[in-house]
């Protein structure tokens, strides 16, 4: 049997149709062109000139095929990368890929997650990465979808989060539908987000697409992790693959990055400085990338009997360890003679204060002679336009490397440098730090007691009532801290699913969809998730709740409802008073009143169980219990609590 005889019926018809149609079209075009060729034209064109008559002809064409599509091949590439989810708001520019994932791919690995906005799908991918360390795909519409996703991409970039954003596009003008498809096509879509993606590409063939997807995956996960972007042509995805071409396609081997460790000699020098220091302080920001990170930091801190200041870009140090002394950050950094900074996002702020008064002034707070050691990937993160590199502040010993990957060597070098006498001396320092920990704990209790029975309800009470209800369960935490950071004082944070840092870029609209993404990751591990949502932030992408309901994602959202974008209240007040403008107008444009937003009703509208608004602290615990019962059954719930502003 010949190769052609093996083809299915539709395929034979498809090929035959193409041949007939193309031949007929070419014949007509040529004859029309000859008829209209100007007299005396001595040289023939290499292709026929288009005419109105030729355009009016409709060549014979096929309507269906059983051949695999380009998108089918690309779905196989996604499967090879073991990517579990594609979050997306549906759009025509990637319809071929969507159809392939749900039909050809069986809608599993990846599974399609239905979202109502590209900012939601991308922030979900961000939250998912924070818990799993694996990228999710956010698929977005050409041009307009990219702009919707842009804010969430920026947050992921600043937070060093691996997210793969794929946008549809209609590259070929010859097949582009008239009208809106032109407005939803671009020649360089990557340019729209290039300032805050690490890499982008626009493949022009299927093999190119496969290589770029595997490359995108590898680059996104290489520290410092970052979003990447692919623009995928709709024709490339929708067209069938010719059998002769199918045989040439290969999926590149997927190989994972080995994290770069800092230079061994430099780490030895760092160990020497730390061992000899009288008041060393370890500062960790974006340090921990896996659950091994906190355990290694504990080992280093105990060896050195050195306090750790966790800046909570990630969960770097278990919060109940007595060397975790973040609440003493100010005094510790002022007294330090050596600071070890692990992936700090703002090293200048560790040693300086800036006073935001009419005249902004800054001052150095670190003591003279203090030595700064930095182990960081920051210099690989910097881009020209975005200023998230923060103010330049050179370290005395700057070690380029992944700090978590560098930790085993650093620990080993510290052990080698520690004499028995030095260990004895450090033990005495440790006893003082244990006393400081106890005092810090007493102060936290006193602070938490303030306004315990007040209405609006104190943030401390909300945090502690919730903790009391979940502490014996397998729980996860989504999004950023509640104001006051009480979970850092009183909860038991051990692993990254207990806390994974904030948005990175501080762009509002992140917390709710990101916590839905984190809750999805936690659901896959058999645990439910709790999160504190801010009222102003939640109003950017409230439809995230619908996705949580639709996909049965167990997430308890407790809304910190202070009926304002409260940070802006304080900013406007600051400037108004600075200019002697009076007391009464700062709420204009900064508060969410008249009418109040009823978040419980908003949640109900999206199919989510809800309680609230809760104003009396006595009503809080029963409401949380009822909502948690729903969450433990595998569904989302929301409790709206009228809280103190901070």
């Amino acid at each position: 049997m010949s190769a052609e005889e093996k083809l299915p019926v539709d395929r034979r018809r498809f090929l035959a149709g193409l041949t007939v149609g193309a031949a007929a079209g070419a014949s007509n075009l040529v004859s029309d062109a000859k008829a209209q060729a100007p007299a005396g034209a001595a040289r023939a064109t290499s292709a026929p000139i288009m005419t109105a008559a030729a355009e009016a002809k409709d060549p014979e064409h096929m309507l269906t095929t059983d051949l695999r599509s380009g998108a089918d091949f690309f779905t196989d590439v996604i499967k090879a990368l073991d990517i579990k989810y594609v979050a997306s708001n549906c759009a025509s520019s990637f319809r071929g890929l969507q159809e392939s994932i749900i039909n050809y791919g069986g809608n599993t690995k990846p599974e399609w997650l239905t979202c109502m906005h590209e900012e939601i799908s991308t922030a979900m991918a961000h939250g998912y990465f924070k818990i799993t360390g694996k990228p999710m795909i956010s698929m977005v519409h050409a041009v307009v979808g990219i702009q919707h996703a842009s804010m969430a991409i920026y947050n992921a970039y600043c937070d060093r989060a691996a997210v793969i954003v794929i946008a549809g596009n209609s590259a070929d003008v010859n097949t582009r539908r008239p009208g809106v498809e032109w407005r939803h096509s671009a020649v360089d879509q990557g340019a729209m987000v290039r300032d805050y993606t690490k890499w982008d590409d626009q493949p022009v063939s299927l093999q190119h697409a496969a290589e770029s997807m595997v490359r995108a995956h590898q680059i996104a996960l290489a520290a410092p992790e970052s979003p990447v972007f692919l623009s995928m042509d709709s024709d490339l995805m929708e067209k069938p693959i010719e059998p002769k071409d199918e045989k040439k396609l290969v999926i590149p081997k997927v190989s994972m990055n080995i994290a770069p460790q800092g230079d061994v000699n430099a780490l030895r020098e760092a160990a020497k400085l730390l061992v000899e220091a009288e008041s060393p302080v370890i500062v960790a920001d974006m340090y921990a990338r896996t659950d091994k990170g906190p355990a290694m930091l504990v080992q280093l801190a105990e060896l050195l009997q050195a306090p750790v200041v966790d800046l909570y870009g990630r969960l770097n140090m278990p919060n109940q360890h007595w060397l975790q002394q973040s609440r003493r950050r100010g005094v510790l950094l002022q007294q330090a003679d050596v600071i070890l900074a692990l992936d700090p996002s703002d090293i200048w702020a560790l040693t300086h204060d800036l006073r935001d008064q009419l005249e902004r002034t800054w001052s150095r707070k670190a003591k003279a002679g203090m030595k700064m050691i930095e182990i960081s990937m920051l210099n690989f993160h910097a881009k020209a336009n975005i200023q998230d590199v923060e103010r330049f502040s050179p370290a005395d010993l700057s070690i380029v490397g992944n700090p978590e990957a560098s930790m085993p060597t650093l620990i080993d070098e510290v052990q080698k440098a520690l004499s028995n006498d030095r260990r004895t001396a450090l033990s005495a320092r440790g006893q003082k730090l244990q006393s400081s920990w106890k005092a810090m704990r007493e102060q936290s209790l006193a602070d938490a007691a303030a306004g315990w029975d007040s209405s609006p309800i104190s943030t401390a009470r909300v945090s502690l009532e919730l903790w009391d209800l979940i502490k014996d369960d397998d729980w996860g935490f989504g999004g950023a801290s509640l104001s006051g950071g009480w979970e850092r004082s009183f909860w038991n944070l051990q692993k990254r699913h207990h806390f994974s840092g904030g948005s990175g870029g501080s762009g509002l609209g992140w917390n709710l969809p990101s916590s839905v993404g984190s809750a999805l990751a936690n659901r896959d591990e058999g645990r439910y998730t709790v999160a504190f949502q801010r009222d102003g932030d939640s109003l950017y992408a409230p439809a995230s709740l619908w996705t949580a309901a639709h996909h049965k994602i167990p997430l308890l959202s407790v809304v910190h409802n202070n009926r304002a974008w409260h940070q802006e209240v304080m900013h406007l007040q600051r400037v108004a008073y600075r200019h002697n403008r009076g007391l009464d107008r700062y709420p204009i444009g900064t508060t969410i009143t008249d009418p109040y937003v009823d978040f419980a009703k908003v949640a109900q509208g999206f199919g989510v169980y809800s309680e609230g608004p809760i104003t009396d602290p006595k009503d809080l615990r029963p409401a949380l219990q009822r909502a948690l019962a729903v969450v433990k059954k595998g569904e989302p719930a929301l409790v709206d609590v009228i809280m103190q502003p901070r």
Binding site: D447, A450, T459, Q644
Partner: protein, 116 residues
């Protein structure tokens, strides 16, 4: 009290207790509560002056003497917004001071969730 002493008092305000100075003007706690709200003191210090990490320390009840209290409000030594007399009169300040003095300090040992 000298300015340096006032600053010293502020620096240790959260950890120590100070007797209120003689000579503080008479203020109305009720009027002070209203002014505390209108002037937006609550935005950083919470309602009742219960305080919050990162925005404003606990000031209800205040541990500052009158002179130190006035100094901190008029010429704050940190990130606090300054409130000149054109914005907040001395009488209004005295009312707020009286209001803050009426606030109670809770004992965490009497709160079940904090005493475990």
């Amino acid at each position: 009290m000298s300015i340096s002493k006032a600053i010293l008092a502020l620096a240790f305000a959260s950890a120590s207790s100070f007797a209120f100075a003689e000579g503080a003007p008479t203020g109305s706690a009720d009027a002070g509560k209203a002014t505390f709200q209108k002037a937006g003191c609550w935005t950083c210090h919470n309602y009742g002056g219960t305080g919050s990490a990162g925005t404003g320390p606990r000031i209800g009840p205040t541990v500052l003497e009158w002179e130190g209290f006035v100094h901190q409000v008029r010429e704050p030594s940190n990130q606090m917004v300054p409130f000149p007399a054109t914005i907040l009169s001395d009488q209004q300040l005295a009312d707020i001071y009286a209001y803050l003095k009426t606030q109670k300090r809770e004992d965490p040992k009497q709160i079940q969730l904090l005493s475990r």
